[in-house]
């Protein structure tokens, strides 16, 4: 019975996902909507979806808080822009950006993944900051692509590429999470020693996921560079690119596929709405929202129904028992 239910739920999800993708594909064809503003906004959402899925893979499924995501995003963007200015085709450059970020992830991951918990978080943050300072010293200012780039600029083409990458990212994450790898990751997240005892090699799985996660972040960086045409290494390596996707993933719901998507949409729309109305104060609003979600909706908005039910159940039981408080 539960099997059938699961299949129905799954096919429902596929249908909904397919409809959403179809709408997004058809959107630029509509005359009035196909303008730059909405497409740029959607593009930002897409970049956030890729990045927050990438962070979610490490943080949500494998339980490793990677605070260095910006380094892989930035290196993807930087290498893509350098390769385009050398004269390489843009698609190859985007892919190369992803691969270079994956290589960087491999180099960084092998030593740092030996660290546990908070040490891993601090270590990745430190490496990302060191990289940012080094890169900003080597490539000061803005890195521009050649002027021929702008002659053939088409926002709709870039929109479709980014949409395709989002779909690919979600498929990769979905198929990974629903395979043996996903089970191993969840086992590692919940109890690494127990996972080891059942014959899982945590080091192998963690490095695999770290490389895939940095590959996705690098792709996002590449397509970001392709869309914008110019990047500033200092800004693309900045911690904002780690913390934004992290917040989007946490607000939506860690360890789920839909969570980071929902979180990214909310995060970007909120940023857009608030920055037009209250200006700089939108950081304060998003910060407060983030804290509230962590404190009162553990598991994010996706699991808010569950949290609410537990909260109500807690209220009722507290009334009936009036127990001494656990602190």
């Amino acid at each position: 019975m539960s099997n059938i239910k699961e299949i129905i739920a799954k096919s429902k999800m596929f249908v909904v996902g397919g409809i959403v993708v179809l709408i997004l594909v058809l959107l630029p064809l509509v005359e009035n909507i196909g303008n730059n503003y909405i497409l740029t906004l959607l593009f930002t959402v897409f970049i956030f979806v890729i990045l927050s899925q990438s962070w979610n893979l490490m943080g949500g499924y494998a339980g490793q808080f990677n605070l260095g995501l910006a380094a892989y995003f930035g290196s993807g963007a930087l290498s893509c822009s350098l390769l385009i200015s050398v004269g390489l085709s843009s698609y190859v450059a985007i892919l190369a950006g992803g691969l270079l970020a994956a290589a960087l992830g491999c180099i960084v991951g092998i030593p740092t993944l030996r660290l546990h918990g908070i040490y891993f978080a601090i270590g990745t943050l430190a490496i990302a900051e060191a990289l940012r300072i080094t890169v900003a010293n080597i490539f000061p200012g803005w890195s521009l692509v050649p002027s021929t780039y702008w002659e053939t600029y088409s926002i709709i083409e870039r929109y479709y590429i980014c949409l395709a990458l989002v779909v690919i990212t979600i498929i990769i994450v979905y198929s990974m999470v629903n395979s043996q790898v996903g089970l191993a990751l969840k086992a590692i997240r919940d109890d690494e020693d127990a996972a080891k005892a059942t014959g899982i090699n945590p080091a192998k799985y963690k490095i695999l996921v770290f490389i895939i996660s940095s590959f996705l972040a690098g792709l996002a960086g590449g397509v970001f560079c392709y869309f914008r045409g110019s990047i500033s290494p200092y800004h693309q390596f900045s911690v904002d690119w780690t913390f934004g996707p992290l917040m989007a993933a946490c607000i939506g719901g860690l360890g789920t596929i839909t969570g980071p998507i929902l979180g990214s949409i909310i995060f970007v729309l909120l940023q857009e709405l608030l920055s037009q109305t209250v200006g700089k104060a939108y950081f304060i609003v998003t910060g407060v929202l983030f804290i509230l979600v962590i404190l009162f909706l553990p598991g994010g908005l996706v699991r808010s129904r569950e949290s609410l039910r537990r909260f109500l159940a807690g209220l009722i039981s507290r009334k009936s028992e009036s127990n001494t408080s656990l602190f």
Binding site: F65, P111, T112, R114, L115, G117, I118, Y119, A121, I122, G123, L125, A126, I127, E129, A130, I133, T134, N137, V239, F243, L246, M247, C250, K280, A281, F283, I284, T286, G287, V288, F290, I291, I294, L295, P298, L326, F327
Partner: protein
């Protein structure tokens, strides 16, 4: 010349040690990581700055005021943000404390920016430029005074933790909170005071930073990174090694500035830090 470099390294290292002590206290006692420690340091710096600018209060005189204000802020932060973390299962508390204080960085930094603009501020007193010379080594007067103040603060902290009943209860809670609570120690109140003391230390460090360097609403993260480096060098949760580790980091940074150049100052520190993490994750000064 080399002696001069080392002396500057020691001076900045003492500040690093002071910044990291508050962070280490909080982590050691509560197992919470306060990512917003750097932002609290900047708040302390601003309090010192405004006391000096508006009321002409000498920055050294105002340090107790700053520390008291930050202590009270720490109590509020604990009550509002950190004590609700107790409801989470023990494995999730550390991660959630990092996430919450990270959200706090966004809030604090931007509130400071709105209130006081993003201008670079520094406390410049009439005696800021006074420099003593000893055996050819230049010693700025304020940095000597800051080192003195830091020593007093640290000795006071040491006495508080080792000699007073409350300090002992903090240490007992740090070792094993369940056992401590069985012995009748009020864990919640202990955490409350520890959080306040940690913030007060951040405030003292902020006053020193505003006096010797400068502050902007967004420079908290740089100080946090330094403090994290020092913390890991010393071994997480150990308060004793923090000072030595701070001085070590300061001297290494200054020496590297001397040889490689200023722009890579932070990279050298972070590089050493990653090496230490990989080779000796339990910290350098831990038995």
């Amino acid at each position: 010349m080399v002696a001069q470099v080392i002396v500057y390294g020691i001076i900045i290292g003492v500040i690093y040690g002071l910044v990291a002590t508050g962070l280490s206290l909080l982590f050691g006692v509560m197992r919470y990581m306060n990512i917003a420690h750097g932002s609290f340091l900047i708040i302390g710096g601003y309090i010192s700055y405004w006391l000096f600018t508006l009321w002409h209060m000498d920055p050294f005189v105002s340090i107790p005021v700053v520390m008291l204000a930050m202590f009270l802020l720490g109590l509020i932060v604990y009550r509002v943000l950190l004590s609700p973390l107790g409801k989470f299962p023990e494995g999730q508390r550390l991660g959630n404390s990092m996430l919450i204080t990270f959200g706090l960085i966004l809030v604090l930094d931007n509130v400071m920016c709105l209130l006081w603009t993003s201008d670079v501020r520094a406390v410049t007193t009439s005696y800021s430029k006074v420099v003593l010379e000893l055996l050819g080594v230049r010693l700025p007067l304020i940095s000597l005074a800051v080192i003195g103040i830091t020593l007093i603060v640290i000795i006071a902290l040491h006495l508080f933790l080792n000699r007073t009943y409350f300090g002992k209860s903090i240490r007992a809670t740090a070792q094993n909170w369940e056992a401590a609570s069985l012995l009748g120690i009020n864990i919640d109140r202990t955490y409350l005071v520890a959080c306040g003391v940690s913030m007060a230390l951040a405030g003292a460090a902020g006053a020193a930073v505003a006096l010797m360097y400068s502050i902007t609403p967004y420079s908290g993260l740089q100080w946090l990174l330094r403090a994290l480096v020092v913390l890991v060098l010393a071994g997480l949760g150990s308060i004793r090694g923090v000072f030595l580790a701070g001085v070590l980091l300061g001297v290494t940074e200054q020496v590297s500035v001397f040889f490689i150049g200023g722009e890579y100052r932070a990279v050298v520190g972070l590089g050493i830090f990653v090496l230490i993490l990989l080779l000796k994750p339990q910290g350098l000064f831990r038995q």
